[in-house]
Amino acid sequence: MRNAVLVGVLLCVSHTAGAQQVPDSTARRQQRTLDSLATALAATQARLDSVIAAPPPAAPARASGSYMNVSFVGLTDFGWSTAKDLGALQVGDHEPHARGFAIPNAELALDGTVDPYLKAFANIVYKLNAKGETGVELEEMYFLTTSLPGNLQVKGGQFFAEFGRQNAQHPHAWAFADQPLALNRMFGPEGLRSQGLRISWLLPTSFYTEATLAVMNSAGTTTYSFRSDESSAIHAGAPADRAVGSAADLLYVPRIATSVDLTDTQTLLMGVSGAFGPNNSGPGAQTQIYGADVYWKWKSPTAHMGFPFVSFQSEGLVRRYGAATRVAFDTNRVLPGETLRDNGAYAQLQWGIKPMLIAGLRADYARGDGMAVPVYATVERANRTRYSTNMTWFPTEYSKFRLQYNYDHRAGIGNDHTVLMQFEFLLGAHAAHKF
C-alpha cells in the first residue's frame, strides 16, 4: 500500500517535470488534481500508518496521567568555618549546624488535582540533626481553589506566608545555601509559616497586580516574632502563656505585588508585605513587621536552557516588637515595657554565565536597637553584616553542586570565614518554579 502511494507520488513528480515544458492549461489542471490526490493519499496513508503503527493504548505508563505527582528533593551540605560553633553562625534550619556533613533538608512533595474545584500540595521534610537523629515535619499542606469567581483564589492549611520573595520559597529554589540574615531575624530558623487561610485577588489591571491576605495562627516556633516559645531570644523575658482571646490574636499577613515587563527581555517584580499579630512577651503585646522586595531579571532573547541571564533580588524588613513589662528569663528582674526595633536587608546578584552555570554575590545585614536594660540585649538581636559569593553548577535540571563562601562580621564576636558546599538531587515530577 505504502509503496503504491510512493510510486503514485513519484509518478506525479516526474509527470510535473514533463508538464512544465508544455504550456497546456488542461495538462496543468490535471496535474494540480493529480498533486492534490497524491497528497490526500499520502495523508490517508499517514493516518493509516499511525493507526497500524501506534503502540497499543495500554503500553506506555504515562506519568503525566497519574492523579498525583510525587517528587523528592535530597539536599546534602558540607560546612566548615573559622567559628567553632557553626550552628550559632548558620542559624537557618536548612543549613549545616556543625563542621562537617549535614542533611538539613530532604523533601517529599506531593501535589495534584483534588477535583474540579481544588488542587492540593503537601511537603513533608525529613532532616538529620548534628547527632544524626531524624526529624520529620509537615512543612506545608494546603489546598488551593481553582475556580472561584472574581479572580479570587483561596489557600488553606499549613503554608509559608507570602511575605516578600524568599520566605515562601523552598530551599532548592534559593540562590544561596543559607537564608538571608534579615529573614532569620524576623522569621526565625524555619521561616514564617503557620496554619490558616489565604485569599488572593488578581486585580483587573493591564499589568500584573496581586493582593493577598493571610489569616493564620500566631503560635509556634514557625511564628518566631509572634507567640513563639522561643521569644526570649528577642525580648529576654520569660514567654507568657497567652491564649487566643479574639480575632485580633491571630496573625495577619497582607501583601501586594506588581510586575511589569520593562522590555522584551527584562522583567521587574515588586511587592510590599506586612505581618501583624500578638507576641508573648506579655498580655496585649503586639508585633508589626513591614517588608519591601524587588526582583529584576534579564534573560537573553536567544536563551538556551534559560541561559544567559542576570537577576537582582533585594528585600528590606523592619520589625517593631512591642515587648510588655516582663520578668527576665534568667533572674527575677522586671524588664520595662519597650518597643524593640530591628531591621535588616539583603541584595543579591545572580549571573547565569552559560547553560547550567551561575555565579552569585550577596550582601546582607541585620541590626537591632538597644534595650532599656542593656545587659539583657540578646545575641540574636546583635548587629551583623555578611558578604557571600557562590558558584552553582547544574549537571542537569535535576541535580546541582554549589560552593559558597561567607565573610561574617558579628558585633561583639568578630569576623568569621565560612565555606558551604551543597549537593542536591531531584527525583520524580519535573521541577516547575514560579517567577
Binding site: 498533486d35 490526500a40 499511525s50 503525566s64 479572580n151 522584551d264 514560579k434
Partner: protein, 309 residues
C-alpha cells in the same frame, strides 16, 4: 402603564441587541498559544476574529520559558489556550495556570486545545529513566515540523474555536478549508524538494528534527547533545566528528537558541555546513506563517544538501 411597558420592551430589545452583537463585533477572541508555531496556526484559522499571543518568544528555548507574571495576566484573560500537550511546557506552564485561575482554559474545557491529541508521537519511552536524559514521558514534543501532524492540529483548533465562539464558526471552518488546501499544495512542493535527498544523513543539535526526518526520510545519525537536554561534552563531540567523517555527513542543523559555536567547531573538522534553521515562525526574517517557516526550512536544507552532494 402602557408607556412603562413600552419602555421596558424597548430596553429589553436594546439589551438583547447589545448582548447579541456588541461583544462579537467589539471583542476578538483572546487566544493564547504556548509557542509561536501554535500561535501561527491559530492565527491562520482564527483570522480577524481572534487576537493571538504566544507565551514563548520565537528565538528562545521553548523548554525553558520564564513563568513571568505578565504571562499570568495573559492567561487570566484568555478565552482559548493552545498548548503542545506533550510536556514541552511542563517546566513553566503549570505554575502559570495555577496563578491564572481561569476555568475557561482548564484541561478538558472547550477553551483548551492540547495540540498533540491524535498525533502519532515518536520516541515514546517504554520506561522512564532519566539516565537517558530529559526524555518526555509522552514522546518527542517537536511534532509540528511534520505537515501531516499540522493537519490534525489545525482541525482541532478550528473545532475548539467554533465551540467557544459559535458566531464565527463558519469563518473558522472556511479558514480551515483554505489552510488545508494550501497545505496540500505545499506538502507536495516540500515532498518534491526533499525527494532527491531521501536517505541523506544529517546531524542536529537536539532531538528536535525527528518528525521532519521521519516525514522526508532523512537520517539523523547523531545529535550534538549526548542525550536530550544534556550539554555537549568533548568526548561525545569527538565521537560525533568520527561518525560524521565515517558516514560523510555534511550538514548540522542548529536553532537560534542553540550553541552555534559548538556546531561550528564540529563543522570545521568535518567539512560540514552549519544550517541556521528555526522551528518557530518569526525567529528568522520572512517566516511569520507556518508555510513561510516550512518553505524556509525545506529550502535551506535542500540547498545545503545539494551543495554538499
Amino acid at each position: 402603564m402602557t408607556t412603562l411597558t413600552q419602555l421596558l420592551v424597548a430596553a429589553g430589545a436594546l439589551l438583547s441587541t447589545t448582548g447579541a452583537e456588541i461583544p462579537r463585533a467589539a471583542r476578538q477572541l483572546n487566544v493564547v498559544a504556548t509557542t509561536p508555531d501554535l500561535a501561527a496556526l491559530a492565527k491562520a484559522i482564527g483570522g480577524d476574529a481572534v487576537d493571538v499571543k504566544s507565551l514563548a518568544k520565537p528565538t528562545e528555548d521553548p523548554h525553558f520559558v520564564d513563568a513571568k507574571p505578565s504571562h499570568v495576566v495573559t492567561l487570566n484573560r484568555a478565552d482559548v489556550l493552545i498548548d503542545g500537550g506533550a510536556e514541552l511546557e511542563v517546566g513553566w506552564l503549570p505554575p502559570l495556570l495555577e496563578s491564572a485561575r481561569n476555568d475557561k482554559i482548564a484541561a478538558g474545557a472547550p477553551g483548551r486545545v492540547s495540540a498533540s491529541l491524535g498525533v502519532r508521537m515518536l520516541e515514546v519511552p517504554t520506561s522512564f529513566d532519566r539516565s537517558k536524559g530529559d526524555v518526555h514521558a509522552m514522546g518527542n514534543p517537536h511534532f509540528l515540523i511534520d505537515p501531516l501532524n499540522v493537519r490534525l492540529v489545525v482541525a482541532q483548533i478550528a473545532e475548539h474555536l467554533a465551540k467557544v465562539d459559535p458566531a464565527s464558526a463558519a469563518l473558522y471552518r472556511d479558514n480551515l478549508r483554505t489552510f488545508l488546501a494550501t497545505l496540500d499544495v505545499k506538502s507536495v512542493e516540500w515532498q518534491k524538494a526533499l525527494e532527491p535527498f531521501r536517505g541523506a544523513k544529517i546531524v542536529t543539535y537536539h532531538k528536535d528534527f525527528v518528525y521532519l526526518a521521519e516525514r522526508y526520510k532523512l537520517d539523523v545519525v547523531e545529535t550534538l547533545e549526548p542525550k536530550p537536554g544534556i550539554e555537549p561534552s568533548p568526548i561525545h563531540l569527538a565521537a560525533v566528528i568520527a561518525t560524521m567523517r565515517a558516514q560523510k555527513v555534511k550538514v548540522i542543523l542548529v536553532q537560534p537558541f542553540q550553541n552555534r559555536k559548538t556546531a561550528e567547531t564540529v563543522a570545521r573538522q568535518t567539512d560540514a555546513a552549519v544550517l541556521d534553521v528555526a522551528q518557530q515562525p518569526g525567529a528568522k526574517a520572512n517566516t511569520a506563517t507556518y508555510f513561510d517557516l516550512m518553505d524556509s526550512i525545506v529550502h535551506t536544507l535542500a540547498t545545503a544538501l545539494q551543495e554538499k552532494k
